[in-house]
Amino acid sequence: DERERAFQDRIDAGEKIEPQDWMPEGYRKTLIRQIGQHAHSEIVGQLPEGNWITRAPTLERKAILLAKVQDEAGHGLYLYCAAETLGVSRDEMTEKLHDGKMKYSSIFNYPTLTWADIGAVGWLVDGAAIMNQVALQRTSYGPYSRAMVRICKEESFHQRQGYSIMMKMASGTPEQKRMAQDALDRLWYPSLMMFGPSDKDSVHSAQSMAWKIKVSTNDELRQKFVDQTVPQAEYLGLTVPDENLKWNEEKGGYDFSEPDWQEFHDVLAGNGPCNADRMAARRTAWEDGAWYRDGLVAHANKRAAQRMAAE
């Protein structure tokens, strides 16, 4: 197909694709899936952090966490807007999320069990997210790329705040140290899973790479994340829960253990520790809020009718 070749040429030349441009249906669909999933993740991601807002241990930490959650909801908004440029509405995507037809990042199906988890989520989860998002600033779809630029700035701030919580905990009382180590133990492998299956098992990768919807492979990003994070853990005096972890001079990176991919697939299939609670929370919020959304629409219609009548 002529148009497809021209399209691919533009991408290869590093041009950005914009909403009004022609694009292959597969490109559009893949983008919707990926951006929508990313947006849903920001929304569902409020829940594990929200779990500790009411219990944040100082007013300062509470304020920082509130600001972070606010940012995340804002990121959700940018991303839904980016997806909407592809011809799908936010409500449509929301309903697909609730029906289980769209996903969100599996990491948010893990619980936040102690305050250190809030630190670890910022350090590891946001750290892994940024790894991915920095790469995606160079993605081929213009609105998505620009959303990533905005998001990356804030996320790196979040990651530093998370690390600052870990610093306090790791240099605190024995219980705090224990909390910090425990958080790392529980969240290390789920963080590694955030990059998706190993390249050899990744279904969508090749085409997405060609289209520059993905810019780095899962394994590349995972390696980069490990290489960045291990020294940080050492600096904290914490132990990464991986007996096979060691520096590989030759490849200039760490060798490390694969996460338990069975667990990854279990969580994807709905059997993570919090899948049911997370989706129930979101569905309930949506259903209980229907009257609110309907009320606003009805009011807007009334006002529009009044304006019409007055004209």
Binding site: Q70, T173, G289, Y292
Partner: protein, 250 residues
């Protein structure tokens, strides 16, 4: 306790407890824009709490920080209005509580920022006033739109108004603390705020097609430490970590 400390606690406990209630919505709002707005409101309120409780601790002179005051007092030492500790209920109840509070809070902060003879009070009020103005603008707008929306949204807003109404009078009650501060020009006479509040609330409710309730009973006690049963549950969650790990720094 000096009247000024008491006043700072009342202001700071209002924002702390309301901030807590608002933050309970995190991730559960009816629409994404509300998630953002609620987090932002809670953030403002917690920021104001830091200033007011910081002032209370400084004036008290016993070395207690804002965090000490937030996390180490039990219910009877809290000085917030009963209104702000009332449960979130449905989103309409949350919004109505916010509006009824904002309609008092913003004029209060405006008065303090323009007139208070106590420099730090005026200074805090100046910082908080702009945030409170935005809260009031937002809650006013939503009360009108939902009151004059569908039959259901109208009914829910009217129910929410009835639910909270008898808890609004406490904002205008004066005790010795208030009189001392009014005489000293530090804070307004609470009763003097009422006509403005009545007018503002009356106008907004009228535009929202909501009826002002007929019940003139006034629930009170919060400002002297007699609360509803709800506050204890709020504090049990809020204060868990500092109480469970008293030696930790966070």
């Amino acid at each position: 306790m000096s009247a000024l400390v008491e006043f700072a606690l009342r202001m700071g406990d209002n924002t702390l407890v309301l901030g807590h209630r608002v933050s309970e919505w995190c991730g559960h709002a009816p629409v994404l824009e509300e998630d953002i707005a609620l987090a932002n409101t809670a953030l403002d309120l917690i920021g104001q709490t830091q200033m007011w409780l910081g002032l209370a601790g400084d004036l008290e002179g016993k070395g207690r920080t804002a965090d000490d005051l937030a996390y180490k007092r039990d219910v009877w030492d809290f000085r917030n209005l009963l209104l702000v500790e009332r449960p979130n209920g449905d989103f309409g109840q949350t919004l109505m509580r916010q509006f009824l509070f904002d309609a008092w809070h913003h004029p209060m902060l405006t008065w303090l920022s323009e007139n208070s003879k106590h420099e730090r009070v005026a200074d805090i009020a100046r910082k908080a006033e702009r945030e409170a103005a935005y809260h009031l603008e937002r809650s006013t707008d939503l009360i009108i739109r939902l009151g004059d929306g569908t039959d259901e949204s109208h009914r829910r807003m009217q129910d929410a108004l009835a639910y909270h109404w008898t808890y609004t009078g406490e904002m205008f009650e004066a005790d010795a603390v208030d009189r001392e501060l009014a005489d000293a020009g530090v804070a307004p006479d609470p009763a003097a705020m009422k006509p403005g509040w009545d007018a503002l609330v009356g106008d907004v409710l009228a535009e929202a097609t909501l009826e002002v309730p007929d019940n003139h009973f006034v629930h009170k006690g919060g400002r002297k430490g007699q609360h509803t049963e709800h506050l204890g549950h709020i504090l049990a969650a809020m204060q868990f970590l500092p109480r469970a790990y008293p030696d930790a720094r966070w």
